[in-house]
């Protein structure tokens, strides 16, 4: 039941005292006339309503969540405690600098650590999400070329295995997109890349390990090709959780990167945000960074980059997300950060190893922190698609892997266990995967009908898009 269908006219909470000054109302011409329908509920009803909604959700604490490319690691409770300190939550963004030295220290310290982890010179915490970071990074590249009077660069090269945000971000930054096909090994096809490289190329967007979970060994060659043609190399940080402490994007030749603090740095996803997508860059791009940077050692101060591209949003980014991420990095430190990556890779390889006799792996090589299975064989054989296996997992209390991505793999399921899962959890999930495979062979129909144990069964998405109902309609 929707919240609007609950409650009754006149119910409500008592939240504010009476107005203690003379009441002023706007003049008629500016006064709202339209009736305002907000819920009218007692606190009991509100509280119960959201308790009911929460029960219909599955978070990381509810079970295994191997959602590929999303790095659903456990969200430590201490992070939440630190992000709710009044010394952080009650600070106005426009307070005088000497009254926000703590906030600035958070920003500066986190920036320093993230720069060291990624091999970047400076980093802005302003972007609010990965996609926002991509857009920001591309604008840095744009500003860079323009600053050199290099106006002919209109293209961004994106591999066909890339996240959909990459091409979309490129377009937002005013570029056209050149898609480069992947080789049979899932990696960048060097020949094709060389063909695409030219003096109209502003840059390349890449993630390494790539979206099929493999580390592209030719990475230095790839970034060299782009640099040779005068382009800039952009690193999509989606997969950083595989390589922290082993490889740094900066050392692979990338000029600019974004991170997803809500993936790699354990801040919660919130059911779709708030995230945080800091953007780091090499020395030559620092002058273009947006927002302000924190400078100084004792007395910290804000400084705007000389040729800043401006503001990507109001204020300094999703600050409380940065607080959580800093808490996390401080906790793990120089040994813990690489350990996280090492175990993320171990867990992925373990699961892949234990499944590959049954499920077809898209690429049967050592994977990084995730691997991609192709269910097209199974589908041919039984009619059971990736979607059906995914929905079967729901009935077993496991969040499905990412489905149908990357696009270059048919019937893809992309599994990312993360390092915060125990061997028992992996073993249990492996067993469920194997049982579902068997079920597919024995009773495909059952999987077509899955899930059955969830608050709702499969929903009519086509109908939803065809006849959109996007809000509750109050009776007139």
């Amino acid at each position: 039941m929707l919240i609007f269908e609950k409650g009754k006219e006149g119910r409500g909470l008592s939240l504010l005292p009476e107005c203690d000054v003379e009441v002023i109302m706007p003049e008629d011409k500016n006064r709202r006339e339209r009736a305002l329908h907000l819920p009218q509920l007692s606190e009991t009803e509100i509280s119960r309503h959201y308790t009911e909604l929460a029960k219909k959700c599955h978070g990381v604490n509810d079970g295994f969540y191997p959602l590929g490319s999303c790095t659903m690691k456990y969200n430590p409770k201490i992070n939440e405690d630190m992000a709710s300190l009044p010394g952080f939550t009650e600070i106005h963004p426009l307070q005088p600098e000497h009254t926000v030295q703590g906030c600035m220290e958070v920003m500066k310290t986190l920036e320093d650590y993230l720069c060291e982890i990624t091999g970047m010179e400076r980093m802005t915490l302003q972007p609010a999400a990965g996609a926002h970071g991509e857009f920001t990074g591309l604008l840095l590249i744009k500003a860079y070329h323009e600053s050199r009077g290099d106006k002919k660069r209109t293209k961004i090269i994106v591999p066909d295995s890339a996240h959909g945000t990459n091409p979309a971000s490129a377009v937002m930054a005013g570029y056209s997109v050149v898609s480069v096909p992947s080789g049979e090994d899932g990696c960048v096809d060097l020949e094709k890349l060389k063909e695409a490289a030219g003096d109209d190329v502003a840059g390349l967007m890449l993630t390494n390990p790539n979206t099929v979970g493999l580390f592209d060994k030719n990475i230095l060659e790839i970034t060299r090709i782009i640099h040779d043609c005068g382009g800039q190399c952009y690193y999509d940080g989606a997969n950083l959780n595989a390589v922290m402490g082993t490889v740094r994007p900066g050392d692979m030749g990338f000029d600019v990167i974004h991170l997803n603090l809500h993936k790699t740095f354990s801040t919660p996803h919130g059911g779709g945000g708030p995230g945080s997508g800091p953007v780091g860059c090499k020395e030559h791009l620092v002058q273009f960074l947006p927002s302000v940077l924190v400078e100084g050692t004792e007395e910290l101060s804000f400084k705007k980059a000389e040729h800043s591209i401006g503001e990507m949003k109001d204020f300094y980014g999703n600050f409380l997300v940065a607080v959580r991420a800093l808490t996390y990095v401080m906790t793990l430190g120089k040994e813990g950060i690489p350990e996280a990556s090492g175990n993320a890779v171990l867990n992925a390889n373990y699961m892949m190893y234990k499944l590959k006799d049954l499920y077809t792996m898209a690429y049967d090589e050592v994977c990084m922190h995730e691997f991609v299975m192709s269910l097209s064989d199974l589908k041919k054989k039984t009619g059971v698609a990736a979607m059906d296996i995914a929905k079967g997992l729901l009935d077993n209390g496991i969040h499905p892997p990412t489905m149908y991505f990357p696009l270059i793999v048919d019937e893809a399921l992309m599994v990312e266990p993360t390092e915060t899962e125990s061997k028992e959890t992996l073993d249990q999930a492996i067993q469920v995967f194997r049982e579902l495979y068997k079920l597919a062979e024995e009773d495909a129909e059952k999987l077509h009908m899955a899930p059955v144990n969830t608050p709702v069964t499969r929903l009519d998405e086509v109908g939803a898009a065809r006849h959109p109902v996007l809000r509750y309609e109050f009776e007139k």
Partner: protein, 436 residues
């Protein structure tokens, strides 16, 4: 040193052995040596939970928490009901991903559907998305969504929040829309100047109501100018003001945006906040970001899904209208709980208290010798000009634990009052100002 890795070293060794590796180094052996980190990361060693708690608490203590705040300028201190925090700290809401798997995400999806409805109710619009990053990015996305093949110029009022203006500029730098600023006159949009700027290439006119100085623009007239030229009309609004001020729809807007922070989110040094976006039904398919729709499951049971995804980047890739994917879902939930807690009368009450207190403070500051600059009606912010330097006034207030208004220049201060400012606080602040 914490690491959140369940497996012990022994277990890791066993797992490695089982899949045919001797060591972690071996597992990473396929990575070319020349790109590998040689001597470890140069960050401090990890810390125990107790140490981290201490360290972070010490850092937080370096900030000054002002018990009394008269500063707004884009971030507002309102009362946040207890029930809001209680809901948004439920771990299955906090730790879930974007609700792609609708069957196990009905709670989040329904909460967004309810949020969309509430935003539509507030703004008078037909359709709302599931939120974008904040007010500034919402404004920028709104401008972008109004672009048409032959209309790629945006006009934005000089009287909008400078952060919003800067953000719109950056987005336009990216997508190469032309952007002109409509000059201000007496602290409001110069209608004549607007008439001169608008033309058949104008995609949209963007104004803010109440504007940056707290004043109410002649929003209906501005909208008429925009529409006469065939341009879309976008209004950035303060959602609290909508409790008593005309909706963007009533003023004639096609798109309404704003920052939802005043609706239950803490100041938090600027974020996370959330941007809301709503529009008339004709523009639905141009709206960026997630949208939740109602549908049925196999058994005919009502449910909710992310819908109209054909607009979005993961389907359309380079043809998408925006790259937004993660937004501010948990903040949207907070807004939903806030608005449910307030109810229609409660929200109206907040708005009335905000404007009443601001007007009281403005009057008292005038008595204390300041001049209020706003010419027409204002909501809960206003600008004073004083003989005393703004910095002197603000320092005097700061000494007493009061965060005064935002200094616009040497003698002008932008003040804000909300329901959190008691008459007593206001009187105390005014007395201090008077004493400077």
């Amino acid at each position: 040193m914490g690491n959140y890795i369940p497996g012990t070293k022994q277990e890791q060794k066993e797992m490695l052995a089982e899949i045919g590796f001797e060591s972690m180094e071996d597992l990473f052996g396929h990575i070319p040596d020349e790109v590998k980190v040689k001597d470890g990361l140069h960050i401090p060693e990890g810390m125990s939970e107790l140490e981290v708690r201490r360290k972070m608490s010490q850092i937080a203590a370096k900030n000054k928490v002002f018990p009394v705040i008269f500063r707004g300028a884009g971030a507002y201190r309102h009362y946040i009901p207890s029930v809001v925090k209680s809901v948004i700290s439920k771990e299955n809401l906090v730790t879930a991903y974007t609700p792609y798997q609708a069957e196990i995400s009905q709670g989040i999806l329904q909460s967004i559907f309810e949020y969309q409805t509430m935003i539509c109710e507030l703004t008078g619009m037909d359709v709302s998305n599931a939120s974008v990053y904040d007010g500034g990015s919402a404004a920028a996305e709104a401008v972008a969504m109004c672009r048409e093949r032959k209309r790629s110029k945006a006009l934005i009022a000089a009287t909008v929040d400078p952060h919003v203006l800067e953000t719109v500029k950056t987005y336009c730098y990216g997508n190469e829309m032309e952007l002109d600023v409509i000059p201000e006159k007496d602290g409001a949009v110069d209608l004549e100047a607007l008439r001169a700027l608008v033309d058949s290439g104008t995609a949209c006119v963007y104004i803010q109501q109440p504007n940056y100085y707290g004043s109410l623009e002649d929003a209906e007239a501005i909208g008429e100018v925009a529409h006469e030229a065939g341009a879309k009309y976008i209004m950035g609004v303060n959602p609290i003001s909508l409790g008593i001020i005309k909706t963007p729809r009533e003023y004639g807007a096609d798109v309404a945006v704003g920052d939802g922070q005043p609706l239950g989110l803490s100041l938090a040094f600027g974020g996370p906040y959330l941007g809301f976006m709503a529009c008339v039904s004709g523009m639905t398919r141009k709206l960026p970001g997630r949208i939740v729709g109602q549908t049925k499951d196999h058994n005919g049971k009502t449910g909710y899904v992310l819908t109209l995804q054909a607009r979005e980047q993961h389907i359309r890739r380079e043809k998408a209208s925006s790259n937004v994917c993660s937004n501010q879902a948990l903040c949207a939930l907070a807004v939903g709980v806030y608005l449910a807690s307030m109810g229609s009368e409660g929200l109206k009450n907040v708005a009335v208290q905000c404007t009443s207190k601001a007007h009281y403070m403005a009057r008292e500051l005038e008595k204390a010798g300041c001049r209020v600059e706003n010419q027409g009606e204002f909501f809960h912010e206003f600008v004073t000009v004083s003989d005393a330097p703004a910095e002197s006034i603000l320092s005097a207030l700061e000494k007493e634990g009061i965060l005064g208004g935002y200094p616009l220049d040497e003698h002008r201060i932008l003040w804000c009052c909300t329901e959190m400012n008691s008459k007593e606080d206001i009187d105390r602040a005014v007395a201090i100002v008077k004493g400077v």
